[in-house]
């Protein structure tokens, strides 16, 4: 029974990993660009939730929305101020720009919020429900379901709407998209906004039930790298599947080997994946 509970808990957290990773995979698929500051976007989402709850005492609906809007604006701003220029530069500039940004955001958060772990004050999402003998924390259940729903919504946005087609058109061929009257800059800025917003919501969802500090971003960035590589280049459904799988593996390794090694196992999996199947689970060689 405990094992079943561990599995369900892992899958619920995995759904949140899927949401934050689909933001990373969106940028990767569209612009062939890896955002090393993606984990810091998640961390900022957590602190946006924290500040809003402490200042206004509102519920998860409101602070989740605030994290989404705040991070969307941050993502668009970072695209115009930094990414647009470094995309034209050498590989060195592309990698160092977001790596430096990650340090800047992480340690500015250290400066403002101190390195201490924080938890959100009590929200309306408390208590546990008993589902056929499995005790589920309401906050984790809600976070997992909302994250899975949002990941699917992002997938539908990309595949079923005009905006999604325009985004994919820019990803496919920037020049051709321009000839069709699409403005690549706007689309790429939108992608950065959506990517950061999904990281921000994922952060707010996790902040409800897990303690956090400014240093958590690096772990989330690495987890997202694993999920994106496992799920395959630029694929949101792949990220969903891989996110659930990584959540499950993490929960099981924490259960069998102790919580310290849950990240070690996942990073080890990443290296193994690069050796054996760098195209991901669903990709073709």
């Amino acid at each position: 029974m405990i094992l079943l509970q561990v599995i369900v808990g892992g899958l619920l957290l995995g759904a949140v990993y899927a949401l934050l990773s689909s933001g990373l995979t969106l940028i990767w698929g569209m612009m062939n660009f890896i955002n090393f500051a993606h984990g810091e976007f998640v961390m900022i989402g957590m602190y946006v939730a924290f500040v809003i709850v402490v200042a206004l005492g509102v519920g998860p609906g409101i602070f989740g929305l605030a994290a989404a809007i705040g991070l969307f604006i941050l993502g668009v701003a970072i695209y115009f101020a930094l990414i647009r220029a470094v995309m034209r530069g050498p590989m060195l500039a592309q990698i160092l720009s977001t790596f430096g940004l990650a340090l800047l955001l992480r340690y500015t958060a250290f400066w403002i919020f101190t390195p201490n772990f924080r938890t959100l004050p009590q929200t309306s999402l408390t208590g546990t429900i008993n589902l056929g003998g499995i005790l589920l924390n309401v906050a984790q259940l809600a976070a997992g379901l909302v994250a899975a729903a949002l990941t699917l919504a992002l997938h539908l946005l990309l595949t079923r709407t005009a905006i999604g087609s325009q985004l994919l058109a820019v990803a496919e061929d920037r020049q051709a998209a321009m000839l069709m009257g699409i403005r690549p800059d706007r689309m790429q800025a939108l992608a950065w906004g959506l990517s950061a917003a999904s990281a921000g919501i994922a952060g707010a969802l996790m902040a409800i039930s897990y303690p956090f500090s400014p240093a958590v971003g690096e772990t989330f960035a690495l987890t997202a790298f694993v999920v994106v590589t496992l799920g395959g280049f630029g694929s949101v459904p792949g990220a969903l599947l891989a996110g659930l799988l990584v959540g499950l593996i993490q929960a099981l390794s924490a259960y069998y080997f102790g919580p310290v090694y849950k990240d070690v196992i996942v990073y080890g999996l990443f290296v193994a994946l690069l050796w054996l199947r760098p195209q991901g689970l669903l990709g073709t060689a």
Binding site: I34, L92, L96, S97, F99, G100, V226
Partner: protein
Amino acid sequence: MRWAWIALALALLAYPLVFTSPFYQDAGALVLLAAISASAWNVVGGYAGQISVGHAMFYGAGAYLPLLLHQHWHLPPILGVPLAIAVSLALALVVGFPTFRLQGHYFSMATLAVAELIRIVVSNWELLGAAIGLQGPAVSKNWWDLTFRSAVPYYYIFLAVLALLLYVTWHMQESRLGYYLRAIRSGERAARSLGVPVRRYKLFALMLSATFTSLAGSLYAFKTGFVDPESGLGILVSVQMIIIAALGGTGTLLGPLLGAVILVPLQTTTNTLFGGGGAGLTFIVYGGIIVLIARFEPGGLLELWHRLTAPRTRRAPAPRHAA
């Protein structure tokens, strides 16, 4: 040009004799050490254009193994140096072999993941001192303990290693390998289509880089006689190599040395000014500098200098690297 080289060498040789205060001698040794590790990073990060953000794994191997031999088996720490290089070469293969057939981003992600993995494992491994770390010889019993009270012997050892590394790098730059690496950096597909064995040469650059980074870690361990997960494997270790090389100029012979001469004294000053609270501030400033370099001057100070001093009429357009 030749006179400039001789002047630089003489200035470096004479520095501890001119500045006799232990503070300045120590600072000089630290600058050289930082220049060694940044120059080593530069071999793969600058010349081959493969950006490692986890070079701390090689540095940490270099710092931990000599002290491990000393603390647990009472062997001379220097025996750990070749062992550490062997471990670093193995790590370089584990990271480089699979990722160098993929796009550049995979290598960067893998270095970050493996460095973090090693840091977590070492932080929890009793044999390696876990969170507390390892200690070296307190007093020197033999000369090969490489434990001196003054910073001057370290200064000259570091200078010799730096000279060797710069000689190897210069030699590489002028050889077939150097041309191959430059071709790889400016367009991997084009290089491959012209028959450059891309993966093999990237791997070779990484292994050369790992060897000297490991050596830098060992030198650090000899000088401080102590290593813990933060000082040997922490993210600041990797960040410092990157920022020093990028500030001076990646892919240039003397860029990392220039970066170290500027950045290390600056860091010592801010640490003295702000005390313990300065560490967080250092990261914020470093992050900001890295972003600014990436955004405005990816070639670093040396390229900026060349552009500013080039005669106006003959000024070439700023080199544009292939994305």
